[in-house]
Amino acid sequence: MSTLAVVAVLVVSLATLGVGAIGLRISRTTSDFYVASRAVGPALNASAISGEYLSAASFLGVAGLVLLRGVDMLWYPVGWTAGYVLLLIFVAAPLRRSRAYTLPDFAEFRVESLVARRVSSALVVLIGVFYLVPQFQGAGLTLRALTGAPTWVGAVVVALVVLANVVSGGMRSITIAQAFQYWLKLLALLLPLAFMLAHWHRHGGPTGRLHTVDWVEPMQGAHAPYLVYSLILATFLGTMGLPHVAVRFYTNRDGRAARRTTVAVLAMLSAFYLLPTLYGVLGRVFASDLVTSGRSDTVVLELPRRIFDGAAGDLLTALLCAGAFAAFLSTSSGLVVSVGGVIGQDLLGRRFDGVTAFRLAGVLAALATLVLTLLSSGLAVAHAVELAFAVAASTFCPLLLLGIWWRGLTAAGAVAGMVVGGALSVTAVVSVMVGETPGGWAGAVFAQPALCTVPLAFATMVGVSLATRSRLPVHLGRTMVRLHAPEDLELDRGSYHPEAAHRPG
């Protein structure tokens, strides 16, 4: 249908592969990747974190939900930004100072238990796959909007690009490439929006649908207070527990730089999230039929051609498609690298050498995601991503908060808390994804589980830790010194080296 847009998608995909190939030459071993980029400045690093973080949910999903359900959906982008405030004040500097590269590294370092490491690894895989499914789904929606192809085609295309990258060994989360993705995504949303707003201002449009009460006023619908506060809890607390976010903090020079990077990330996300809301509002004016046909997630891509005829509409659509594919690929890359690294190291590492294990793990992660995407019931993209946040908030958030700020956390407590929070939240997420949820209050709890599962996970972690308080980690004192003392002091910070675990491969 729209040749230009298909070309744009191809260009972005090939560029991603090309950057991967260049990256292959620059960083040949895993250890190069882990160590080389350690001294990246806060501004560049913040662009890279934002570029990797802004996924299909932010690029397509938020506008779709705003079009569909109105003002209450603005809590999604607010929560995804505010999550970085919580990450900043509780986690950023200590996590960098721990020198843990992944969340399983942190678990092993803090509670000195291999069981805690394994449980964390399993959770990284689960959260990663839950987060990947909506990326693949978004790619399917994009290609359907462009060519009319069935949705599985786009999912397969993204899976193939990701696989090609993993197998060629090139898919490193290269800082400069991820940083570029942020600016591409910002521009890809900003430019078409400027044209469309100018058009709306000059020629007007049917604004009657903007005044529906249950769309324009907040806190509408059944169980609204529970749903909104549960969403707030999941997004505010979940960000710190996302595998691909934690990894990025390792590239900061020190704890102080980690904090400054986080503030810059906040500013960049704030700038970006001003835009999707306006797409939702414009969609309400010019493309409200998408609500009734159940295709609201494609509103960002459909709008330009609803407003402009001919070449102008095609050009802007092509730009948006390029931005959307950049979003799927950058987030998928970061996630597959994190998930693949964890599977490769903890599950396959004993049987295969480093690089082989990493590639095999990446292939497994991408294929598992593809299968789950085809099975899933077509949940709204932004909601699906937010459910991954709910799992992170119910598992890694208590581990990080209690591990960093409370000496009393024991290995048994950490494991018990992660298992309870993980089991409950994963049950809810899976049942929502396959479309099997009860009605009424129970349905609300399944749709937004965080307000129930997060407190239970915290309570379990604290309770079991108190019951096993005679078994505190041996090196607790040094661990606390490493987490909290500024780097410029010469102090004994213990001997834990995660890089020894991440053997060069």
Binding site: L86, I89, E217, P218, M219, I232, W405, A485, L491
Partner: protein, 124 residues
């Protein structure tokens, strides 16, 4: 014979480095009670700051759903033709988040500078 009793020698030299390092840093390294007290005071001051910022966040951004739920007037208010909840959630929240973050960073760095002065000060 009585002249040959052992001469008293003062042991000096190689230990001077350690003497100069007889500071809070070495107390922390030795994980002594004093060292623990210093570490705990740093952690407590940072935690207090973090919880203060969380409280500010809860009172500003976190109280909005409650406010909207309880006050139909706020829910329906308009400013320059735009509904107030849309303005607040779509734009107004973000500068607040950035300001809170900036405030935290400055205070946290000040806490650490104070700790550095205390611990590193005895080093020279």
């Amino acid at each position: 014979m009585s002249d040959e009793r052992p001469v008293r020698v003062r042991v000096t030299g190689p230990r001077t480095g350690h003497v100069r390092r007889a500071s809070i840093a070495s107390e922390i390294d030795a994980q002594s009670v004093v060292g623990e007290i210093y570490m705990r005071s740093l952690i407590r001051s940072q935690l207090k700051l973090a919880l203060g910022v969380v409280l500010l966040l809860a009172l500003s951004v976190g109280s909005l759903p409650l406010l909207f739920e309880l006050s139909p007037a706020v829910r329906r208010a308009h400013l320059l033709g735009v509904p107030v909840p849309w303005l607040v959630l779509g734009i107004g929240v973000y500068p607040v988040l950035i300001a809170l973050a900036w405030f935290y960073v400055r205070r946290a760095e000040r806490n650490e500078a104070a700790f550095n002065d205390m611990v590193g000060g005895g080093r020279e």
